[in-house]
């Protein structure tokens, strides 16, 4: 029966070639989309990690939930030093994050804002926003009260370089205080959402206006890209030792689960899209084999008349499907592996397709050269799922073949 099935496939070579090519290309595209998706996922997670301020975020216990400056790390020095000693750590940055209301001095505009006091040099390994400076300077001028705003936030406040802005916030003493800044630089990332969130001042200035002294509200730790965050967190906690008392260590994924969820949802959407393609291909396969059964009514009727049971006739159609699927899927896997061999080293410039950077839920994706990643179990699992789908698509034609009445079938085309 296998021999018969194989020869049936070779008999109508054009149809077999077209159907097989459709399966092979769909499999190759599906696997490549998985490989690119995994590569993109890795990039997004790294970008999100940098954007979040590090793989591990250290706060005074309770600050993350309340954002209350009274709960600050009063002696960040030993904490920073300990974090810097952890193997593989690429950057440690102390920050002061002040939540409040920004208004222009002329009161023409206002906006809720997280003003971040940063050390630009320390932030460079994390999320170097100085790359997006459009006008002015990036906290490098003489004015200690300089503030850098995103372009959209500056527009919302109706301020321009040199204009004054006021932050109303609660300082470390628990008092609501206004702090005056002057717009020293404007950055434009290309994302309106992100450009509405950027408000940066010098770390020392933020400490001063918030009456924090040497205290900071957050210390971000950036590890190796491939290192699991839980391991980094454990290493940092170990390095801190007793200094970790009263501190809360969170991986960025713990701190921002909604961002993780969004990135994962984005990946799942890609898989769903690929599956939709496959469902369409499956209907094509079902149609092809149904046509094949209808064309061979007389021939299948002959087999039935000679003593082939209905189950074996249905099995013949399924065997043809299995053979075609296996050959085509092998070709599809080979094509996908060839694609992976190229794109894993050369990368795919995703930015060229979408015309520049983009953001995902507030995370700037500026490094859009995507390198494919092969997750072998996922590929094999997907291959098995595709095979099952192809077999399911052949069930109806096979069932139709089992229902052939040999006496009727033998009369067909007489």
């Amino acid at each position: 029966m296998w021999k018969l099935a194989w020869r049936q496939l070779l008999r109508n070579r054009a149809r077999t070639l077209i159907t097989g090519s459709a399966i092979a290309l769909a499999v190759a595209m599906f696997l490549m989309s998985l490989a690119l998706g995994d590569g993109m996922y890795g990039k997004m997670m790294q970008a999100a990690e940098r954007s979040a301020g590090g793989g591990v975020l250290i706060h005074h216990d309770g600050w993350w939930k309340g954002r209350d400056s009274t709960a600050n790390i009063t002696a960040p020095g030993p904490v920073i030093a300990a974090a810097e000693r952890v193997a593989g750590v690429r950057g440690v940055a102390a920050r002061v994050i002040l939540e409040g209301l920004l208004t222009s001095a002329s009161r023409e505009g206002f906006a809720g804002a997280n003003v971040r006091g940063i050390d630009p040099a320390a932030e460079r390994p994390f999320n170097d926003l100085s790359r997006y400076l459009k006008r002015g300077d990036f906290l490098s001028g003489d004015d200690p009260r300089a503030i850098v705003l995103g372009e959209k936030l500056a527009d919302d406040l109706s301020v321009d370089l040199g204009d004054r802005v006021v932050l109303r916030f609660v300082d470390a003493t628990g008092k609501e205080e206004p702090a005056l800044f002057r717009l020293g630089g404007i950055v434009a990332t290309g994302s309106a959402e992100i450009d509405r969130q950027i408000a940066l001042v010098r770390l020392a200035t933020a400490q001063e206006v918030a009456k924090l002294g040497a205290g900071v509200t957050q210390i971000g730790v950036l590890g190796d890209p491939g290192e699991p965050l839980d391991a980094l967190k454990a290493d940092v906690a170990r390095a801190l030792g007793t200094a970790s008392a009263g501190l809360e260590l969170l991986t960025w994924q713990e701190a921002m689960p909604e961002l993780v969820g969004f990135i994962e949802m984005d990946g799942n959407m890609n898989i769903m899209f690929a599956l939709v393609i496959f469902v369409i291909v499956a209907f094509g396969i079902a149609n092809t084999f149904l046509m094949s059964v209808i064309e061979r009514v007389r021939e299948l009727g002959l087999l039935a008349a000679l003593g082939v049971t209905p189950a074996r006739i249905g099995g013949l159609v399924l065997r043809e499907t299995v053979l075609l699927a296996l050959v085509a899927m092998t070709l599809g896997f080979a094509l996908a592996l060839a694609g992976h061999a190229y794109f894993a080293t050369h990368g795919l410039d995703y930015g060229a397709f979408i015309g520049g950077d983009f953001d995902v839920s507030g995370v700037i994706m500026d490094d859009l050269i995507i390198y494919t990643k092969v997750d072998a179990p996922r590929w094999l699992g997907s291959g098995a799922a595709v095979l099952v789908m192809i077999l399911l698509s052949a069930l109806y034609p096979a069932w139709r073949a089992t229902r052939l009445d040999p006496s009727q079938a033998m009369r067909t085309y007489e």
Binding site: R7, L10, Y413
Partner: protein, 241 residues
């Protein structure tokens, strides 16, 4: 091939291989019921060479299909080789055909993707006969019908007569008790048709295989030892020679 002489294996009309009683077959064509057979009784003995003759629509092919368990009678009963086949399920009927019957059809007899030899051995392979045994049974038969040097050819490379000879070899290779042939010579010229008939007569004589044909080929009818004539779904005559 020469015309067959008198058979060495005499038919045993007392040992019925086919017993059909009061067989009626009604087809539905849309809302119209067509009475193809009307209470047919037929007995065929072991080793007979019988032609079911009659014009188109007389019911001869219908009767042949019922005897071959390709279809169910609407009423009546049919015993073939001692087995009640009237209401076999499709699977059981298929196994019965495989083990007990040989078929030769008017046309499209062969599986196009299989070679001459593979077609001839097909039913043996289906029945699970080992490869060497199949070769031992089939090759001499193919040589005998003049196709010994065409074993690897595909059906489309053979003439109509050659294809029918392969079908005959396939039908008899498993030594069935009964071979049913529906208009086997209809698409052949008279010489090819005569040769094929010679072959079947020889096989009938040598092995005692019962042959039942449905045909309106005058040459075939003339050489049959028994002619059962059908008309309007009834037996209109039964002539033994």
């Amino acid at each position: 091939m020469t015309a067959a002489t008198a058979p060495s294996a005499a038919p045993d009309a007392d040992t019925a291989i086919i017993t059909a009683r009061d067989v009626t077959k009604v087809y539905k064509q849309g809302k119209v019921e067509v009475l193809a057979l009307r209470g047919v009784d037929l007995d065929v003995g072991q080793g007979e060479f019988v032609v079911l003759a009659g014009p188109s629509g007389s019911g001869k092919s219908t009767l042949l299909n019922l005897i071959g368990a390709l279809d169910h009678p609407t009423e009546g009963s049919i015993l073939v080789a001692g087995r009640e086949i009237t209401h076999l399920s499709r699977s059981v009927a298929a196994r019965f055909r495989l083990t007990s019957l040989g078929f030769v059809f008017q046309a499209y007899n062969l599986v196009p993707v299989l070679t001459c030899y593979e077609n001839a051995e097909y039913t043996l392979a289906l029945a699970g006969v080992p490869r060497t045994e199949r070769r031992r049974l089939v090759v001499p038969l193919l040589e005998r019908v003049g196709l010994g040097d065409m074993l690897t050819r595909k059906p489309h490379e053979l003439s109509g007569g050659q294809q029918q000879r392969i079908a005959v070899v396939r039908a008899i290779a498993s030594r069935p008790a009964l071979v049913l042939a529906d208009e086997p010579t209809a698409n052949l010229d008279s010489e090819t048709s005569g040769n094929l008939l010679d072959l079947m007569l020889e096989l009938n004589a040598e092995h005692g295989t019962t042959f039942v044909f449905a045909s309106h080929d005058p040459d075939l009818i003339a050489r049959a030892r028994r002619v059962v004539r059908l008309k309007d779904g009834r037996i209109d005559g039964d002539e033994r020679r």
